[in-house]
């Protein structure tokens, strides 16, 4: 990530005869101004490559640079999230590198100019937040043991046995627990979504992860309603806190709302 105190050594801008390409972060409108202080991957200055009313947000990167990780991912989101604070920005998939300006136009901006303009108009004044809900696993599992005699029986059978013993019963126990969790999860997730959906322009759910994941959803929200959403979720979080934890991350760039199908 850019540390900012020293000016970076700018790479040659991509073009014929250079060994650099454009690392593209996202697409925005040409009227957007990029704050001077923003630095992209490899601490490079961020440029706007304009085409009509559109602009690709990009910085120079060596084409043969080694694979990136932490620093690159953070630079990518920092650039996008910072721009998204003020302007509509449509993120481009992390790691997209183009050979030169013409390449950016030919393969990114020109083929879908109208769709991109529409997308940016739709994103105007809106922001993304990410809502995740997680069960307090011990409470969840304790409830299952208390409610389901089969689970309780299998647990008693296998709990103190050596690890090699009762393999089939362990699998069965796990399967029963997984099925029960899935049932509970569906109901809880739907209830949560029903609560937040009226406050959102779009909801994009992805599979909740892990044994205790309940919900993982990106929300596209009018900026003016973010505070209301927080208030509503605070009430929900207080109501369910004994068995569920709610986290709300953002605002951030609309990573989940650039491909159309996620829109409500």
């Amino acid at each position: 990530m850019s540390t900012g105190t020293q000016a970076p050594t700018p790479l040659p801008l991509p073009g014929a005869g250079t060994d650099t390409g454009w690392f593209v972060y996202g697409i925005t409108s040409r009227s957007v101004s990029v704050p001077e202080s923003i630095r992209g991957v490899d601490d490079q200055p961020v440029h706007l490559l304009t085409y009509g009313e559109l602009a690709a947000v990009a910085s120079a990167a060596l084409l043969d640079r080694p694979p990136g990780r932490r620093a690159e991912i953070l630079a990518y989101t920092t650039v996008l999230d910072t721009l998204a604070e003020e302007s509509p920005v449509a993120p481009v998939r992390f790691g997209s590198i183009f050979a030169d300006d013409q390449d950016v136009v030919d393969h990114l901006l020109a083929p879908s100019t109208d769709d991109l303009a529409t997308l940016l108009a739709d994103l105007q004044g809106r922001t993304q937040l990410r809502l995740t809900a997680t069960y307090r696993q011990e409470v969840l599992l304790a409830g299952l043991v208390a409610d389901d005699p089969d689970i309780a029986r299998l647990r008693d059978l296998t709990r103190d046995a050596p690890e090699e013993a009762y393999h089939a019963e362990r699998v069965q126990l796990g399967q029963l627990v997984a099925q029960a969790v899935e049932r509970i999860r569906e109901g809880d997730a739907q209830e949560l979504l029903d609560t937040v959906a009226p406050l959102c322009v779009g909801v994009a759910e992805q599979p909740a992860r892990g044994l205790d994941g309940l919900l993982d959803a990106a929300l596209l929200v009018d900026r003016s309603r973010v505070e209301t959403l927080e208030d509503v979720l605070e009430v929900v979080a207080e109501t369910v806190h004994e068995r569920i934890e709610l986290r709300l991350v953002g605002p951030m760039a609309p990573y989940d709302f650039v491909e159309g199908e996620a829109w409500g």
Partner: protein, 139 residues
């Protein structure tokens, strides 16, 4: 990870509002997201899609069932704690770190992504174990 430090009541709220800059969050936020250009474009920076697949645990597998069973069987504190007020009970469970062990595989996989020289051991371990998990169909 640092999530627990953001726990309920801090800042007066039950809703956790962590900054979006945590790397684990950030990775989950951007994986598989954004406008995809045609196959011509080099997605050169990371083998990130591969790692995505490994991160997602498939529920319907024997490995997963065994982990559920293990988690259920580890609830020893349950019987002793049943009479306590729920809040206190939850608190003690969290301190015991039980949930950390259970979801260790997931966090380990995340660590593989987040890199960092001091995580090398974790990284190797989580990578070799995550290879066993079933790959996602749609990728």
């Amino acid at each position: 990870m640092t999530v627990q430090s953001q726990s309920r009541r801090s800042g007066g709220g039950y809703l956790q509002r962590p900054a979006p800059s945590g790397l684990a969050d950030v990775i989950e936020i951007i994986l598989d997201k954004g406008i995809v250009v045609d196959a011509y474009v080099r997605v050169a920076l990371v083998g990130i899609e591969l790692l995505t697949i490994d991160l997602r645990i498939v529920i319907a597998s024997v490995d997963t069932y065994l982990r559920f069973a293990e988690a259920t069987n580890r609830l020893d504190l349950l019987e002793h704690g049943a009479g306590k007020p729920l809040d206190e009970f939850i608190g003690s469970m969290q301190e015991s770190g039980a949930s950390k062990k259970v979801s260790g595989a997931v966090r380990g996989a995340k660590k593989a992504l987040t890199g960092g020289g001091d995580d090398d051991d974790d990284e190797r371990r989580s990578r070799s174990s995550s290879r066993r998990s079933t790959r996602r169909e749609e990728s």
